[in-house]
Symmetry: C2
Subunit: 641 residues, 2 copies
């Protein structure tokens, strides 16, 4: 394929790609992150760009207005490059990557205090141990390897020890050049400790690990100091795979079409970028980073390791592995110490990954007497129910509505996103992230809006607009639409609104999650009131308004003091595993003790789902604290706790 | 360096080497094995060749007569190639490699009956296990790796299981393409079982291993069938490192000068050649050879793995390792299944290797109540003393005399070598291997000759010729010499003889070994009469005449029924380890329970050595059954048992 060159304004960034690539692929290659939500399927209409010069081909999207098409607008994901192009990217199309990454990083940096550290003995997955060995003599004539291994075994109280050929080859020389005073880097792989490295002198202090939560949307990385057991710094970036779909299914399909290596490469590049960033900002030599510990959903973990993902999306949804062995990080291309290790935490099934097992560890459900529920709400809602005796898990396919995608005015939680909606007298008011000019609505705002519309009687229990005379309700593209932000009043280019079909999407999403919880509880003969703790994990969970989430029936009407936001429990769990070998082992135990329940096998799931397609639910007795006859004057609190 | 071409007659073999190489190196590259005993030091004078055409440079050796030099004779090891050469190799210079290899192979093929098989449970180091797995369903939705590992763990009753990334990448596809009926190749690495391979269908029957004894002189390999627990075939070759020295010290020095890779390459090539030979002769696919199990002295094992050997020859004689981890065979270049394993058995010290630990296993000393002694006589005599409670080991540097090297007319045990010498009335007669025309004397013949000379009163207890009037004793090159084979009577080109300095060399060698046994026994407050078993291992041991060996004081004067020739106990032990994982582990236990005693640290070693410099010994009371006042008429038996 011949190459063509694209220039992107206003960034003034040039990139060369082969003819026929999409403009979105070119933008990605130019390291421009754009507001693409559907992942290149031409559905979300977020990747609008303007062709200033040059020729393109491809389908015309219904997401573009006639006027936009006249003005050279394209959807980058559906447009193929034919020759050299000059492209302008409108402000609303450009993602505010840095802001989001900083926010994510900051948000999850200071979680340490809440962790059950006292439970385990400190034993990092990779340790550095200074060895001050005796020089051999005729009467103390142990071989070099056995001298080194013996001392390490004694110090760590370990039965077995491995050493690779490469290290053995240089061992004699390094011992003798340094008067038998060396530092061994010792990593734990399953039950066996491995001498990964031997360095001159005492370098015990120079031992760092990077802990990574590989989200489908965002990748968060923390760097931790093994000698002080402290988190030094945190950073985050969007998962570059986003260009091939916002959800895991799209990415699996892409990997089947284009090969899994492509998807693996993107994740590895992201992780390497984050590691480099952390090492540079903290003046840490890459060679002193001895391990990377990763949690994430099973598909992301498969991409990380370059494993095929096709069977995860096909009935009966079987992954290659839920407990990958520790590998040399270099084997997948992660750039730390060349002999450094990559630990992928064990998960439960193709649809309940190690982000959830790490969450079970971090929340301590596995050691509690009372029954707890843990939910991580995203495109899929992963749910865990149980206590120290038993654990069951399921995954509900909620779709992207709750994250602001597939909603006309939906957007990611970035500056300018409406993150809160509330009633102020007769007015419905809002607050944007960073108090910027409103650009769209993110997940927490959508839940608020739906609750407010319901509570004020603007929509009924099926999500239909019933206040026919409300002047905020208009017909737009043949759809009943509620205008939240009027473009005329606010000077925006276009209004911010919600349509009846948007609302249906949101109700579908919340019904899928609620029904899943219901089924899991029913299988264990439990009611919501039996739950001792209701943990909400994940970035999304941290920002939603509990009362509103209960009002729309997304989460059950449990006592509010039982509800706890646990933030990025995936990263927390991964970090505990990094510092405490027993905790790492505990995640394997958790994996084994958790029964994965596939909702596709539940005959009553569809029924439960349909019962949840109302606000808050068909069974009002399940929601005694929700005012079921709107409009109502019930007080509502902002956030809990 | 420019290249030059050599042609070797009568083989008519051509080879190209860089200018300045020795003729010996060129012959080796042309795969011609010659009768080189000193390993290229110009000492043995065995590598005589004739330059028919071309120019050479290098020192003139005192080993060549004036006439030989006039006729173009050179020592190949000391002669450098200057331009293209045509070389003739005299018959006596060419080694009878094939004959020797066949002999060694045949000799050790049928040892199976004598092994303590009943002691261990059959559990080969590498197994193939046919898995007839259930196809996943929504309710049986275990991940592929866990499905495979779980079944293997159940079948083998193992707690832990590893699987490499490469296998995981293809696992899903191979399972589904074969209806979940596959064969797993499972290897044991320390306490962890590793899935090395997954193949379609049932291939349990196609599982072979090669067991190798890496001797300094000879490499012996057997191929074993894991499913029937049988030895299928055996083969052997000279260790190609011989060109760089016949003993380990010369090879270590070479590796320090020229790099260890050179020595490693030669061993690996030899082993690959043997494996290829075994696989072709038995129609076995190389990919079905799943492991190579090696025993050998510590230096050979280091060369095999490419580990530096320099410290083994320097006080305090420390090897890199005495217990190398199992490796992938491909990591050192051994060509079997690409994921096949290489097990190097654990040894005891730099000078007591895994050939000895394997011998301890094969002879069962480690589980016997009575005290036993095991000796392997070669350039070094390795000695083990002990029982199930304790084991001590030492190594005596005997030098090459007992193997026929450094003796003017010495040669390897090849067709034409005098292997027996005996008294027939007044005559001293001999027998050659294969009853060929005599070419020289090999080890067993040398011991016989010394015993006969002593018994007939031709030499005294210090090894000096005392029958001044015996016409078979002449002066040759200023040395008193006994003519065993007269060239005039037999039509040989030159006589076969032994000199007083040859005899001194032999006495020195036997004294070194005897003193070592004495010291070890003294340390444990034992006398030779306390020994319950006296095991003699190795090719050399199998052919010596016990009475004569006791007569010259090489081995102690113990009851003859206690003496047992155990053949290639190294290979036997390695084979047991291959079939019985517990036996492999037992060798580690043996290694750990054996105390290595360095004779250099024994203040009384020199004294003991000097006391042994007599025939049979200074203390005649140690040899009550040896007639100490020759000539004597004591009956002597050929061979024992």
């Amino acid at each position: 394929m011949p190459n063509v060159t694209l220039t992107f304004y206003p960034l003034n960034r040039k990139v060369t790609v082969s003819k026929g690539s999409t403009v979105l692929e070119a933008a990605s290659k130019a390291q421009i992150t754009i507001n693409n939500l559907c992942g290149g399927d031409g559905i979300c209409g977020r990747c609008k760009m303007i062709v200033l010069k040059g020729e393109v081909s491809g389908e015309i999207s219904g997401k573009l207005t006639r006027e936009e098409i006249r003005n050279g607008y394209i959807l980058a994901c559906m447009t193929h490059v034919e020759n050299d192009l000059i492209i302008e990217i409108p402000e609303e199309t450009l993602a505010k990557e840095k802001a989001k990454a900083d926010e994510d990083a900051a948000r999850f940096k200071d979680f340490r205090a809440e962790l059950p550290y006292e439970e385990f003995k400190v034993l990092p997955l990779v340790q550095k141990i200074f060895l001050d060995l005796k020089t051999p003599t005729l009467s103390n004539n142990i071989a070099d390897q056995q001298r080194v291994s013996g001392e390490i075994k004694r110090r760590l109280n370990l039965p077995s020890m491995q050493m690779g050929l490469k290290i053995m080859k240089s061992l004699s020389q390094i011992l003798r050049e340094n008067d038998f005073k060396v530092t061994a880097t010792v990593g734990v792989r399953k039950d066996i400790a491995e001498v990964m490295n031997i360095e001159p002198g005492n370098t015990e202090k120079d031992n760092y690990m990077v802990v990574v939560d590989i989200g489908t949307t965002t990748i968060v990385a923390h760097i931790i100091d093994v000698s002080s057991l402290k988190t030094l710094d945190a950073t985050a970036c969007f998962n570059s795979q986003g260009i091939y779909g916002r959800d895991v299914i799209s990415r699996i399909i892409t990997s089947e079409k284009k090969g899994g290596e492509l998807l693996q490469k993107l994740i590895i590049e992201d992780i390497n970028k984050l590691i480099l960033n952390l090492s540079e900002n903290n003046s840490i030599n890459l060679k002193d980073i001895t391990a990377v510990v990763c949690a994430g959903n099973t598909t992301m973990n498969h991409f990380l390791l370059g494993l095929p993902t096709g069977n995860i999306r096909r009935n009966p949804y079987i992954p290659v592995t839920v407990e990958p062995p520790p590998l040399r990080a270099a084997e997948v291309g992660i750039q730390i110490n060349p002999r450094g290790l990559l630990y992928s935490l064990p998960g439960i099934s193709g649809w309940v990954g190690s982000d959830i097992t790490a969450g079970i560890l971090a929340t301590g459900i596995y050691r509690r007497d009372d029954v707890c529920l843990l939910i991580d709400i995203g495109t899929n809602g992963e749910i865990v129910l149980g206590n120290k005796e038993w654990l069951v898990a399921a995954s509900a396919s909620a779709g992207p509505a709750l994250e602001g995608a597939s909603i006309d005015c939906g957007m990611r939680a970035e500056p300018g996103a409406i993150e809160e909606v509330y009633q102020n007298g007769l007015e419905i008011e809002y607050k944007t992230i960073d108090n910027r000019k409103p650009l769209g609505i993110c997940g927490s705002g959508i839940i608020d809006l739906l609750a407010v519309l319901f509570r004020t009687g603007i929509i009924n229990r099926t999500g239909k607009f019933i206040k026919e005379d409300d002047k905020r309700i208009i017909m737009m593209n043949d759809k009943k639409t509620f205008i939240l932000v009027d473009e005329v009043k606010t000077g925006l280019k276009k209004p911010i609104y919600i349509t009846e079909s948007d609302i249906e999407g949101i109700i579908t999403a919340k019904a899928a999650i609620y029904a899943a919880m219901k089924i899991l509880m029913a299988r264990m003969n439990l009611e919501a009131s039996d739950l001792a703790h209701f943990f909400i994990a994940g970035a999304f969970g941290s920002f939603i308004d509990i009362e509103n989430a209960i009002t729309i029936g997304l989460i059950p009407d449990v006592s509010r003091e039982k509800i706890e936001f646990v933030g990025n429990a995936s990263l927390s769990g991964a970090k505990i595993s990094a510092f405490y070998k027993e905790a790492f082992q505990k995640i394997t135990d958790i994996r084994k003790m958790t029964t994965y329940y596939d909702l596709m096998a539940a005959n009553d799931y569809v029924e439960e789902f349909q019962r949840a397609m109302f606000l808050p639910h068909t069974n009002l007795e399940d929601f005694p604290n929700v005012c079921s006859k709107p409009p109502c004057a019930q007080a509502r609190r902002r956030k809990i706790g």
